[in-house]
Amino acid sequence: MIRIYKPNRDNLNTSLSIGLPIIALAFIDFFGNTFLNTNLTGFLPNSLSYFFPLIAGALGLYFIRIEYSGIRILDNFNKNVNSTTFNAVLTLLIIFIFFKYTPPLLNWLIFDADFVGSAKEDCTSGGACWVFVKVWFKRFMYGMYPNPEQWRINTAFFILFVLIGAAFFVPPKYKKYIILFMLFIYPIIGIKLISGGIFGLKWIETGAWGGLSLTLIVSAFALILCFPIGMFLALGRRSELPAIKYSSIGFIEIWRGVPLITVLFMSAVMFPMFLPDGTYMDKLMRVVIAITLFEAAYMAEVIRGGLQALPRGQYDAAKSLGMGYWRLHLLVILPQALKLVIPGIANTFLALVKDTPLIFVVGLLELAGMIGLAKTNPKWLGMAIEGYVFAGLVFWVICYAMSRYSQRLEKKLSTER
């Protein structure tokens, strides 16, 4: 049939009047099946009836695939989504799948979901039980941090967001001071505010910290620390001094070769054995150090990729101007290399944020860990899906924001024409 009838400009009207009704039929059948529980093609054998919308749709799209029809909408449509039979089928599949599965998903997430109440029994309508998230919200945010002291976490993060906002909006002249403050002084203030023990603030041990705030604390410290360490390791691996070179290679290969969960476990169980008697290092600090060193090894390799991409001429030029090793690297090589590997750095940072839930192995419960705890509460059994959907959304928002920021940075630093 395909060989017999070739739709073209000459039989435009005939082709359209055959093609469009067939497409319409396909969609009517599909929507009837999906939303009205009627099967127009019930008289056909089962499998044929099931695939009828796809087959009829593809056939109809074949009839309207007319080159240079002169109708602009049709030409654009054919060019973009109906250029071949394969593309036509893909288009149909995407439309059908979207309409088939979006409504139930939305129903579960929103329309049939329960938002009010205070116990599992209030969830009666069959959709998601967001009451669970609502009731546990404080725990998901602050972990076991005592309620009356939670303002301290809020204040710490509020100051941080103000600083970040300020860094975006103040004139460039002051920007670097804010960033320096944020990187070197603020972390100490923030951590003191949250841990307490000074200025009359009640001491709250790190074991009580948890939830999203812990996710952010661990991520932030690991991010800030792993970057410079990774940078030195990358430079070290390219060093001409064998001692530095081979110790960098050894460090990178050992940490890259071990699963993070093992590293965390070792940091909690084995590390204290190496400390002299009587000394004690906080569990959270050990975990942050472990994650930092682990990610630094990855960071080193990302940055090394950037270093290797630079032509030798850049080194020659910097050397010929009298720059020594550090000036050459800090002023000429690293700014270019880091710019080149922003996507890779963002990748490592995102992976780091998403690796933080693993700290549950040492008993620290950040967001995903708190959900794991809450879902085992006898009063709230069976709430795992809601919990993890919520955690997924939160992580997605954080990671997407970081991803957007990295793209912005890439654009801003671009000096191409």
Partner: protein, 243 residues
């Protein structure tokens, strides 16, 4: 006139390949030397040894009274006094032209930003691209980039300038603007060693010509003698091909 560069029996190997064989050379202050020769003859290696971008294994290189070897402690100090212009410009693409010119004066010579910018603008004016100062290298033509690279080297106020085939990567119509800037520099009394195939430039500027082949200096002569009656057969052959 006093000697500023002296090379004595310099030998250099890249693994087993010998790139320089027993090279002897003396350069006086304000002297202009043009080095020519077929590709792979060691011209670039020779001038890259003078500021130790390449290391020689045997012989002595003395620049401005300082012996250059692996024992040289302040090689950066010597490099700061020896400017270099490369075939591929090698401007820093992440910095504007002005910042390219002020980077080393500020961080190596410890000038203030204001001083460095004054010197930079002076030199950019000298090579006639002061109107491009705030653009990035990627926005300039090849000829402009090479002149910017020249200005960048001059901002360190070097005693010696080395040129490594400065016009080989340029379109023909841009070669002239770079050569003009170099001629101008030569007239100002700079000590220059230039690796180039631009024989017109050589005739106009050079005091002495050097012809290299297979890592050896085959012929060194006054420019006039070099072109009018070259001694070695190899030089004659080369000149007949290039002129």
């Amino acid at each position: 006139m006093s000697k500023i560069i002296e090379l004595k029996n310099v030998n250099k190997w890249f693994d087993k390949f010998q790139a320089l064989k027993d090279v002897n050379l003396e350069v006086n202050q304000q002297e202009k030397i043009v080095i020519c020769g077929p590709s792979g003859s060691g011209k670039s290696t020779l001038i890259r040894c003078i500021n130790r971008l390449e290391e020689h294994q045997e012989g002595h290189i003395v620049v401005d009274g300082n012996e250059i070897s692996e024992k040289t402690k302040d090689i950066e100090k010597i490099r700061a006094e020896v400017g270099m212009v490369f075939q591929q410009f090698n401007l820093f693409p992440h910095l504007s032209i002005l910042d390219n010119c002020t980077l080393a004066p500020i961080w190596v010579k410890k000038l203030t930003k204001k001083q460095a910018e004054e010197i930079a603008m002076e030199n950019l004016k000298r090579v006639q691209i002061d109107d491009q100062a705030l653009k990035f290298p990627g926005q300039l033509s090849g000829g402009q980039q090479q002149r910017a690279a020249l200005a960048r080297a001059l901002c360190m106020e070097p005693k010696i300038m080395l040129f490594d085939e400065p016009t080989s990567a340029l379109d023909p119509e841009m070669i002239k603007e770079v050569l003009d800037a170099m001629v101008d520099l030569a007239k100002g009394g700079m000590t220059m060693i230039v690796v180039t195939h631009e024989m017109g430039f050589a005739k106009e500027v050079a005091d002495n010509m050097i012809f290299m082949d297979e890592g050896r200096i085959v012929e060194k002569a006054k420019t006039e003698d070099f072109f009018n009656n070259p001694k070695s057969e190899r030089t004659k052959l080369f000149l007949s091909q290039i002129l």
